[in-house]
Symmetry: none
Subunit: 201 residues, 4 copies
DNA sequence: AATGAATGAGCATTCATTCAT
DNA sequence: AATGAATGAATGCTCATTCAT
């Protein structure tokens, strides 16, 4: 990377950071490109030079952010912790960011019809899936996940929890924080609890 | 109700319906009051006569909608179905609406500081809680919910599922629909599944 | 006046009073007909039944108010006070209303092109002029007004003072109140003061 | 000033001019920002880029205009004319603008509570006061203003005349124009006239 | 390559006025 | 005679985007 490219890269990073902060704090619609430009210390025109549209800036920023997150999770997965600890770790580590991730995923779908570069998306989704496959496989292997469970269902269940945790985290200061113990309990054994027999139903 | 009031009531309902459709389809920010007015067949000024602001229209519409939903759920709760069937029914019946409900709840909090009529909100929240209390009590009584479980945690868990179902429903046409069987299974017995012993951990 | 007419008259008076209060406090443009209707305890439609337009309401209200004011001033003129006292009395009595009167007069001119009933205006102007003629004649007779002075010029001078007094009165609570002594002094003897010789110029 | 700044400055001047014309002709409320933009040959957004609000545009425009006026008056004060001539000159020179100046001053006070930049205002008021001090001092020195007169009262009296002149000028085409001779006479010697003895009162 | 300046289309909101009852 | 309800047109202001430099 020469001088030009380094500066360019740095500006892009500044834009990503400003965009992330503002979008997560106030939502996509409430943040103007000019605000982002100002906070990033560049001109709005520069943003358009790089990203073309506000939508594209948004998407690129998410992708960038997601890559960073997944790298973190991978590191945890490869650590020596027992499975439930890894789970808790990942869930809690960035819980306050997770709502953002999942909600934005849906939003991205709304953009699709505008000719977004699908390759990047699919690539990222591939990465997410890769992470989950590893996660579920590990859980099964260590006996914490029913072997009959498909990866897809487990993935859904896991993200569901992450989302919810993110939500609770966010509003924690307000009404109630949930005990992570109860949460793990629910995660692994459901509403019926750990000690249910099999007689119902 | 005389002629005036009947017409007034009808117009309000038309506005609620148009607002619901448009807001759920395109999101709060993307829908203009004029659009709603047009679709409802009234003038924008009429909307402002009734609701005062776009925010308030939004909130009132949600409250109205929520009341209707809860009435439906209540009816199901009071039916003769077995508990898991009731659960499934409620979760699925209006699954496509549920994302909306839960996401909007959070959004409403953002309005709070603008002097929203708290009474109405609290009243509605009371109703929701009332429904959950009944639901959880029933589940415990019929042995499907661990008696140690608090209402709050159960409530969280339930809404979490509803949200997720709503989400999947929405994108069902695309990649994967989840089997409701797996879902119920997860709901009651968690990731570890129905037949786990107690030996792990 | 029978029952109908009495009620009608009363409503009109209520409207006049509300309109006067609101217009003087907030200005013509900032006050809506609906506000006036509400404060007067009638429906906006009623106002339109009586006055036809906002403009006309405005004009009628001014005329009504002016008649009442002039009646007061007439009573003072006919009293036994010495001329400067009468002058001071009239200037101060309703000083806080005067700004309104004079400023609105100009505003009325802006309405003219919309076919306002000129008769009423001219009639009122006639009354004002009548009052001034009496006032100036009295002043001359008692030696307080230079006999060479025309009525028109004296009238202008007098209203100028009234206006200014109104203004100062209004902002009195804020910066400076002017001494009525200085004012009277200026009124009768100008900037050069009472004791000027004739040597300048 | 480079190319950018020159163009920017020019646009601002265009906006000031359009705003001045329209506001003075039709009043603050009757003129829309879009109209000003159109007459100035810029987009409404440009106006908002520079001024932020209609209120602020208004205030800035007044301040700009006032500075220009005061510069003119200063030049007259420093000329070789005798004092009454200077007075007449200043009063008449821009008489048609004066109503505007004084009336708007009051209006500006109404803006105060909205966080207007007080520094600019105070600075301008300082300038006005500076002009008056000079004016009154000169008048006293040349024997046209009673040495007992305070600056404040003299200032009030002077602006009162300016206002009234402005008013008459405006409606000059209609009913009566006032002779500047009479006016000067009144200004210096009041209603009692130049030749009054001291025997009244 | 980067930017300051400019914009047009759009949005929430208001208000004088009308009309069915 | 009086009104509650309804409205269309207008207004202040915003923002994604473009363009001259």
């Amino acid at each position: 990377m020469n001088g030009y490219e380094r500066r360019k890269h740095k500006k892009i990073e500044q834009v990503f950071e400003a965009a992330f902060q503002l979008f997560t704090r106030h939502g996509y619609q409430k943040v103007s490109v000019n605000e982002i430009a100002q906070q990033a210390g560049v001109s709005p025109a520069t943003i358009y030079n790089y990203f073309g549209t506000k939508d594209q800036l948004y998407i690129d920023m998410i992708m960038n952010w997601m890559d960073k997150q997944l790298a973190k999770y991978d590191r945890i997965l490869e650590s020596d912790l027992p499975f439930p600890e890894k789970t808790k770790e990942i869930m809690l580590l960035e819980a306050n960011n997770l709502t953002f991730l999942s909600e934005e995923f849906r939003r991205i779908q709304a953009f699709e019809d505008r000719g977004i570069d699908l390759k990047i998306r699919q690539e990222s989704e591939q990465k997410i899936k890769g992470f989950f496959m590893k996660f579920v496989a590990l859980g099964k292997q260590e006996g914490y996940i029913d072997k009959e469970q498909t990866e897809e269902v487990a993935m859904l269940f896991f993200t569901m929890f992450m989302n919810e945790l993110g939500r609770r985290w966010d509003s924690a200061n307000r009404e109630f924080a949930i005990s992570t113990e109860s949460l793990m309990e629910l995660f692994f054994y459901g509403l019926a609890g750990q000690h249910h027999g099999g007689e119902q139903r």
